[in-house]
């Protein structure tokens, strides 16, 4: 039994992001003005307020900042914060892993599990 993934509610500003995840690619939004990546993606930089933001491709590598195994669920699952190489840090799930063998600092890589409708989420698995 695996966890059923919900369908994302795709906002118009993030259509490119979700199109990329369908293709197995991770896009990070970053500001051209203050050169900071941020998460979750927004068109106006939450750090400096500039509307001059852009999508940047990310290779999906990162490390676990913290995690927890949700035992009180029909199918236990792992939530985690993962720091992408070069930032930012994002809230996610770690899947296809032994939950009891995870550790803070562990290297992970992005995976893109599909929903029934063919959309894809950004999750991670041990590298």
């Amino acid at each position: 039994m695996t966890r059923t993934l919900p369908e994302p509610k795709i906002s118009p500003e993030l259509a490119d992001f979700w199109a990329a995840t369908r293709d197995g690619r991770l896009l990070v939004r970053a500001c051209r003005s203050c050169d900071s990546p941020h998460w979750y993606p927004r068109t106006i930089c939450p750090f400096c307020g500039s509307p001059d933001t852009e999508w940047r491709d990310h290779d999906g590598t990162g490390t676990i900042v913290t995690y927890s195994v949700m035992r009180r669920a029909p199918v236990p699952y792992v939530t985690a914060y993962v720091e992408l190489t070069g930032g930012p840090t994002l809230l996610t799930n770690v899947m296809d892993c032994d939950p009891d063998a995870l550790a803070i600092g562990q290297a992970v890589r992005a995976v893109f599990p599909k929903t029934e409708a063919g959309e894809a989420w950004v999750m991670f698995t041990p590298a």
Binding site: R3, L5, P6, P8, K9, I10, S11, L14, S36, P37, H38, W39, Y40, R42, P46, F47, V65, T66, Y67, S68, V69, M70, R71, R72, A73, Y77, T79, A80, Y81, G87, P88, T89, L90, L91, T92, N93, I104, W121, M123
Partner: protein, 383 residues
């Protein structure tokens, strides 16, 4: 505009129910309001300012009409369980500015019989809720990182629950009255690593209310003068992925501000009501408020240091959310109530702090490590 001791909490009431299948949520609000007004020696007709949050059925105008209130100040600020501590500060400002004279704050709910619906989805929902973020695993991720960075242990966290249970044994209305041990906590089932079931608060139905007036009015009413000395509120998110606050909370901002406004220091505090959705919540907020150094919370809470009459910081002497009451999954209002009881000398004799003249109240609304609001209030008993 600081309150400078000119605003009082003149009436308090905590509903005795912890399970309420046979009473409507609106009726619970109204009974809590009536109880607090009676405690203050006032009536519904005296109320000209009303404060409630997302738990008010039908919203603030429906509840105001339900109770027959005619208002000059209406404030439905909704920031989860911390809402009511913000309401206290907002009510104080309204009274100081002359816009209101008698402010009523209510909380009530029935999470088992009539659960609150989640708010409409927002821009962060696809990046949080979809990953199965519930309350337990959000706080658990904070605990996991705190343990990693500072060596905090499950045994130390368990001491917080142990302290709450020592207090709850004297509270006849408390949901859980059995005294528990560190081993009991560690042997309870794992909910979200590293938090056990006994690291988590109760799910209770019921509510409470309090009434805010000028100190002059409270004096005329013959009530013990419990005044607001200082208050502060803030919000905190994930720092947009740059430096996600996993081991600190909004208390790091509101604590120093509230102390500065009150003109007192952490060493002056005789009693603390600190939100306890989980044991880790208490530990992180204690550090951020300055009761101990950052990272030393584990050592601070161990060995009964939070037990009234035993340790240095009597805390949540009603049993708190961990053992007594956490009405509709919101802890801020009951924190105010026990602080007022302590300052009035009306806490249970077994947990009453001698000469309790200065108390701190702190609450969190939302999820630590994800997004939350925080509020601190410092209350003083004056002659």
């Amino acid at each position: 505009m600081t309150t400078q001791g000119r605003i009082c909490i003149a009436g308090i009431y905590e509903h005795p129910l912890r399970k309420a299948p046979d009473i409507s949520t609106a009726q619970l609000h109204a009974e809590c309001a009536l109880g607090a007004l009676q405690d203050a020696g006032l009536t519904f007709a005296d109320v000209d300012a009303y404060y409630c949050a997302g738990d008010a059925p039908g919203g603030i105008t429906m509840m105001a009409n339900h109770m027959g209130l005619n208002l000059s100040q209406i404030d439905g600020t909704e920031v989860g369980g911390s809402s009511y501590i913000l309401h206290l500060a907002h009510a104080a400002q309204a009274i100081l500015s002359g816009r209101a004279k008698v402010a009523l704050v209510t909380l009530a709910g029935r999470p088992k019989s009539d659960p609150l619906k989640p708010p409409p989805p927002g821009p962060a929902t696809e990046f949080e809720a979809a990953y199965g973020i519930a309350t337990q695993n959000a706080y658990a991720m904070c605990a996991m990182r705190h343990m990693h960075d500072y060596g905090t242990t499950s045994e130390q966290l368990a001491w917080i629950k142990v302290a709450a249970s020592h207090h709850a044994q004297w509270n006849e209305h408390a949901m859980l009255r059995d005294v528990v041990t560190v081993d009991d906590v560690l042997n309870s089932p794992m909910i979200a690593d590293p938090l056990h079931r006994m690291d988590c608060c109760v799910v209770s139905e019921g509510g409470g209310a309090f009434v805010v007036t000028s100190a002059d009015m409270a004096r005329d009413l013959g009530k013990p003068l419990v005044v607001l000395r200082g208050a502060a509120e803030t919000n905190m998110g994930q720092d947009h992925g740059r430096n996600v606050p996993l081991t600190h909370t909004g208390a790091a901002i509101t604590g120093p501000k509230a102390f500065a406004e009150a003109g007192v220091t952490v060493a002056d505090i005789k009693y603390a009501s600190i939100y306890d959705s989980f044991t880790i919540t208490v530990l992180m907020q204690l550090e951020d408020l300055g009761f101990c150094e950052k990272g030393k919370g584990g050592a601070f809470v161990a060995d009964g240091n939070l037990i009234s009459g035993v340790g240095k910081l009597p805390w949540n002497t009603d049993g708190g959310g961990l053992c007594n009451n956490h009405p509709t999954n919101r802890g801020g209002l009951t924190k105010v109530l026990e602080a007022v009881r302590q300052l009035r000398g009306e806490a249970h004799p077994k947990v009453q702090v001698p000469n309790c003249d200065l108390a701190l109240v702190h609450g969190t609304g939302g999820l630590l490590g994800v997004r939350h609001a925080a509020a601190t209030a410092i209350l003083e008993r004056i002659a």
